[in-house]
């Protein structure tokens, strides 16, 4: 194994010696550090989420429970999974079964859930992307993946304008998932189909004052 390592590294050094090229300077003239007023970020983020055929529900923080409860009822959800650390008050108006996830639950049990409710770490308005990083309220990656409906609560204060601004919020050591709309494929004649292996429905509750 070390032999292969030394061989490959030796080959790279030989290659660079045989074909030396000048050091590259990376120009970063693309847009970074952008900001937009709340209303414009909300409008942009909403537009992009709808373009992905996600469901969007803006509300104030004190109406989170109503929003979550009404939406889950509307989709006929009877059993949800929630990660450790999720704000219990968000589920005050939901009357179905709630299963708290933990690492010992085998993935096959996650398939018994109708939906999952999580918080989020950050988002990017310009691309309609939500970032989950496994911190409290977001859970392990499998939890937001196996159930067919993902209801995700996003605070508008964590929604950045573009990709550079949102990536800057990430913590590299945390396992991170970027979600842009529900699962989709274009593999059959390039016709977009929502829902192959991941959640087929994505519902985003945006808390406009949080």
């Amino acid at each position: 194994m070390t032999q292969a390592r030394d061989t490959v590294l030796g080959r790279i050094r030989d290659a660079l010696a045989l074909a030396p090229t000048p050091a590259a300077v990376v120009p970063r003239d693309y847009r970074t550090g952008r900001t937009l007023p709340d209303a414009e970020r909300l409008a942009l983020f909403t537009d992009r989420l709808l373009d992905y055929r996600a469901r969007v529900h803006p509300c104030t923080a004190d109406r989170t429970a109503e929003g979550v409860g009404d939406l889950l009822r509307e989709y006929g959800v009877r059993r949800i999974g929630v990660p450790a650390g999720l704000d219990a008050r968000w589920l005050a108006r939901y009357d179905g079964e709630v299963r708290q996830d933990d690492a010992a639950v085998p993935p096959s049990r996650l398939d018994e859930l109708d939906a999952v409710v999580t918080a989020s770490a950050a988002a990017c308005a310009e691309t309609g992307t939500i970032f989950l990083d496994g911190s409290p309220g977001q859970g392990r990656r499998a939890l937001s993946l196996v159930p067919d409906l993902h209801l995700c609560v996003v605070d508008l204060s964590t929604v950045e304008v573009g990709v550079p601004e949102a990536v800057a919020r990430l913590v590299p050591e945390r396992p991170t998932t970027l979600i842009s709309g529900p699962s989709a494929t274009s593999d059959i004649e390039l016709e977009r189909v929502e829902g192959v292996h991941g959640p087929r429905t994505l519902v985003v509750v945006i808390r406009t004052d949080a």
């Binding site: 194994m1 292969a4 390592r5 490959v8 590294l9 080959r11 790279i12 050094r13 030989d14 290659a15 660079l16 045989l18 074909a19 090229t21 050091a23 590259a24 990376v26 120009p27 003239d29 693309y30 847009r31 970074t32 690492a103 993935p107 096959s108 398939d111 310009e126 691309t127 309609g128 992307t129 496994g134 392990r140 990656r141 499998a142 550079p164 990536v167 800057a168 990430l170 590299p172 050591e173 396992p175 991170t176 998932t177 979600i179 842009s180 699962s183 494929t185 274009s186 593999d187 059959i188 004649e189 390039l190 016709e191 189909v193 929502e194 829902g195 192959v196 292996h197 991941g198 959640p199």
Partner: protein, 525 residues
């Protein structure tokens, strides 16, 4: 203190006869299949047309698109320049966070490492995320040969695998199949599929979902590729749409990722560039539905065991070529395939390699060489292009593919010295130098009308001209050569008439030509 290490040796190409970097026929011959398949050409024309339009929409809405391309190109060039230190840093970071790093000199070594790791888990099956690297090494075939069953989980890869077919596009490997064919493949090959399954894409996708779900939930080992490996943090990135990637990367106990050494990028921040360039260039979306970023092993979340296999397989040989190494900057977005008039007509199989289209035509000979055997099919790849330049314009990391193709053509002619074109030109020059021979040759070429079909083209010339006609159709010669027409009664009469007309025009023409008109030459005399 420094040690003299001797002259650097040119690194080897991917070994001949292994993996999927070489077809069994030269491009022109293989292209005949695609050209003759109307269904394929209709599928491809529609698909690439759609995706081209989408890509232009979403790249056009970014005012800083060119700045992003500049940054992307420079980041990759910087990474290639500092490859040894970046790979060592990546290895250190992955190891510190609980992963294990392996190095593979070539495809066979990578395949053996993966098979050994799978066996060590006690499992005899793996689920797979779509990966160009393992397609390149022929991992599936190797695993099957040692009794391990690989399950492709990307919808298109699943279609290709069930049909015992080969992928024909980097991004949408089953683009050559239409919904009716896919329906039939599912009916024939998926155990227990609903016999009433129709050809609606949503229903076909649902059938794949049902088929694979149990595999996802029970598999112990997964194999993936990687779109990026961040040296600074040891973070790996997989970009996808369906969620099958997320399933494979998080549900099994063991994850094995095979990554070409050129996929390393220096900084975590660099993701901000590629996460804008890649989805917009490949599927024409602002962002792909799912991107997974993971760093080593995280207790309580995802696999307990993570292995990273770093693959050379000819990449160092490409790196040793000052011009060709630009091909290593490729981020596999497939934008160049979708704009290429040659790819659109021939399809991906004609290229014979895991990497089809314009980038495949430069990357494949770089990785695997094009003179490994007499009549190496790879030496036809640099000619599989009209050099129209559309691929260069579309490339998000600004790889100058047309120039690379020309350089490879140059290398090929330098190496072989003799090509059918050069032979033909040499013969033509010899004939043109001697008028009598030229007249005779022109008379003989009249025979061409006999071998041309009704459409007036010759698709097959006799040897030694067959080398020319192998890669192009030739128009049938005219009924009569100019020289023979010139010498005939008709020719002499036409010439006399033209001379008389000219005389009349010059005599009567002076008065009617406006001063400063286009008859300057006559005024001067």
């Amino acid at each position: 203190m420094s040690t003299f290490l001797g002259m650097p040796a040119p690194p080897p190409r991917s070994p001949y006869g292994t993996g999927n970097l070489r077809g069994d026929r030269a491009f022109p011959r293989a292209a005949h299949d695609g050209l003759g398949n109307g269904q394929l050409r209709r599928n491809l024309g529609r698909a690439t047309g759609t995706i081209r339009a989408k890509r232009l929409d979403v790249t056009g809405e970014l005012p800083d698109w060119e700045a992003l391309r500049e940054a992307g190109s420079a980041i990759k060039t910087d990474a290639m320049n500092r490859l040894p230190e970046l790979l060592e840093q990546l290895e250190r970071e992955v190891t510190e966070r609980g992963g294990t790093v392996h190095w593979a000199r070539d495809a066979d070594e990578a395949n053996e490492i993966v098979a050994r790791l799978v066996r060590a888990t006690g499992s005899d099956e793996v689920i797979k995320v779509k990966s160009m690297a393992t397609q390149e090494t022929g991992l599936n075939e190797h695993l099957e040969s040692v009794g391990i069953t690989p399950y492709e989980t990307d919808l298109a890869e699943l279609i290709v695998q069930l049909a015992h077919d080969r992928p024909s596009h980097i991004l949408v490997p089953a683009i050559h199949r239409n919904r009716d064919e896919i329906r039939q493949i599912f009916l024939d090959r998926i155990p227990g599929v609903d016999p009433g399954l129709d050809n609606v894409p949503a229903h076909l996708a649902a059938a794949a979902r049902r088929y694979l779900r149990e595999k996802f939930l029970t598999a112990k080992v997964a194999v993936s590729g990687a779109n990026f490996g961040v040296a600074e943090t040891g973070t790996l990135a997989v970009v996808e749409s369906e969620g099958n990637g997320r399933m494979c990367l998080t549900l099994p106990e063991t994850l094995i990722t095979v990554m070409g050494i050129e996929k390393v990028i220096p900084r975590y921040q660099d993701l901000e560039v590629f996460l804008q360039l890649l989805p917009r260039s490949s599927t024409g979306e602002r962002m792909n539905p799912y991107t997974s970023l993971w760093t080593g092993v995280t207790p309580g979340d995802g696999p307990r065991d993570f292995h990273l296999v770093l693959l050379d397989n000819g990449r160092t040989a490409a790196l040793a070529d000052a011009i060709g190494r630009a091909a290593l900057n490729c981020i596999r977005c497939s934008a160049c395939l979708n704009v290429c008039p040659v790819y659109e007509r021939t399809g991906g199989h004609a290229y014979g390699s895991t990497y089809p289209g314009p980038i495949g035509a430069v990357l494949t000979p770089q990785l695997a060489g094009m003179h490994a055997a007499k009549d190496d099919p790879n030496n036809s790849l640099p000619y599989a292009s009209s050099l129209c330049g559309a691929c260069f314009d579309a490339c998000p990391v600004k790889i100058d593919i047309p120039s690379l193709l020309v350089e490879l053509r140059h290398q090929h002619t330098e190496r072989t010295g003799v090509t059918p074109e050069r032979l033909a030109m040499r013969a033509a020059a010899a004939v043109m130098r001697r008028p009598a021979l030229y007249t005779a040759a022109q008379k003989a070429s009249g025979l061409g009308r006999v071998i041309a079909g009704r459409d007036g083209t010759i698709s097959r010339l006799p040897p030694p001209l067959s080398g020319w006609s192998d890669s192009r159709d030739t128009a049938a010669p005219p009924r009569e050569t100019f020289r023979s027409w010139f010498a005939s009664e008709e020719g002499t009469a036409a010439l006399r008439a033209a001379a008389a007309e000219h005389d009349a025009a010059t005599r009567g023409g002076h008065g009617t030509t406006a001063p400063g008109g286009d008859h300057d030459e006559e005024d001067a005399t």
